[in-house]
């Protein structure tokens, strides 16, 4: 069975895995992990240049921009205004008008402030951005984001960086059922099986950073995630069997020897 590509705002991605660029042991390991992941889109953050120390290498030197589409985020923004300002700076620093929109509402959970997220989405869509909002697993919010012009919705599977795995399977399934834009599960994946679960639920893609960057062997985990996303997607398309309480024999009941 051949899969269709992931299409976001008219742009095609063969890989349904989106990976981050944060928290790797080194830029070199990150570059290897990116290659192993097969991903075609990577997230980056926007921060002040360190004026005092100009010795640090540029992140972009380690991203194969011929293969990778760069998706800047508005991480650590706590208001619509901050997020909008950061998105505009990202557009100016980069090459595209895409943004992974984050408006955080709480430091400990990093849960989104969905009211501010909606406000920021409306403004940025009006300003010509392709907006991919990181949101909670709320169907109504996702629907409003869609109506506001979001190019995809990116509900969390668990808190950012928690590695808890998909905690909200039913909500994600419901969001997928109703969404008219791609649903990309963003945050919560801890290991390959979590990515499989997200894809089996029908997610159009999975975005992860810590699960790969924080693994003991990031390059190996990146490869595992590549396979997990493909496996989960194929299983979703294949259509799983219904769950049953009791056994159903796989082998014929006729012709059993000695009976």
């Amino acid at each position: 069975m051949t899969d269709t590509p992931l299409v976001v705002a008219g742009r095609r991605f063969t890989s349904r895995l989106i990976v981050g660029t944060g928290k790797y042991p080194s830029h070199a390991v990150m570059a290897q992990a990116h290659a192993a992941s097969g991903a075609e889109m990577v997230t980056v953050a926007v921060r002040r240049v360190n004026i005092a120390d100009r010795s640090r290498e540029s992140l972009l030197d380690y991203i194969d921009t011929n293969r990778m589409f760069i998706l800047p985020n508005t991480a650590a923004c706590y208001s619509a205004e901050e997020a909008i300002r950061t998105a505009h700076l990202a557009r100016e620093a980069g090459l595209s008008n895409w943004v992974k929109l984050e408006v955080i509402g709480d430091e400990r959970t990093l849960f989104p402030d969905t009211e501010a997220l909606l406000d920021a989405t409306r403004v940025l869509v009006r300003d010509g951005f392709v907006v991919l909002p990181y949101t909670n697993d709320d169907l109504i919010v996702c629907r409003k984001l869609e109506d506001a012009g979001a190019a995809a919705v990116m509900p969390l599977g668990a808190p950012i960086g928690s590695g808890l795995g998909i905690q909200n399977a039913n909500n994600l399934r419901i969001i997928r059922e109703f969404a008219r834009v791609p649903v990309i599960v963003d945050a919560g994946v801890g290991t390959a099986s979590d990515a499989v679960v997200a894809m089996e639920l029908g997610a159009d893609g999975v975005l992860m950073n810590t699960a790969i960057a924080g693994a003991q062997e990031p390059v190996a985990m990146a490869e595992a995630m590549k396979h997990a996303v493909v496996a989960g997607r194929l299983a979703y398309l294949a259509g799983r069997i219904p769950k049953k309480m009791y056994a159903t024999a796989s082998s014929p009941l006729e012709g059993v020897v000695g009976r």
Partner: protein, 66 residues
């Protein structure tokens, strides 16, 4: 003259262009975005825009993130 550069006070000899400021800081202009007094400065304007006393300059780039 004193400006605010990325939130910190920064001393300059006198007015200079944004492009010259970036050169002085060893920053590749193709890799950054610049805000002057809360307004984004398009890259073609770096060479012709002067940094003046009291200006608030923000220079940002991409770093690792998720």
């Amino acid at each position: 003259m004193l400006i605010t550069l990325n939130g910190e006070p920064y001393e300059l000899d006198g007015p200079l262009s944004v492009a010259d400021l970036l050169t002085r800081l060893s920053i590749d202009p193709r890799r950054v975005a610049v805000e002057r007094n809360f307004t984004i400065l398009r890259r073609p304007l770096f060479a012709v825009t002067l940094v003046n006393e009291g200006d608030r300059i923000e220079i940002v780039n991409f770093v690792g993130g998720g």
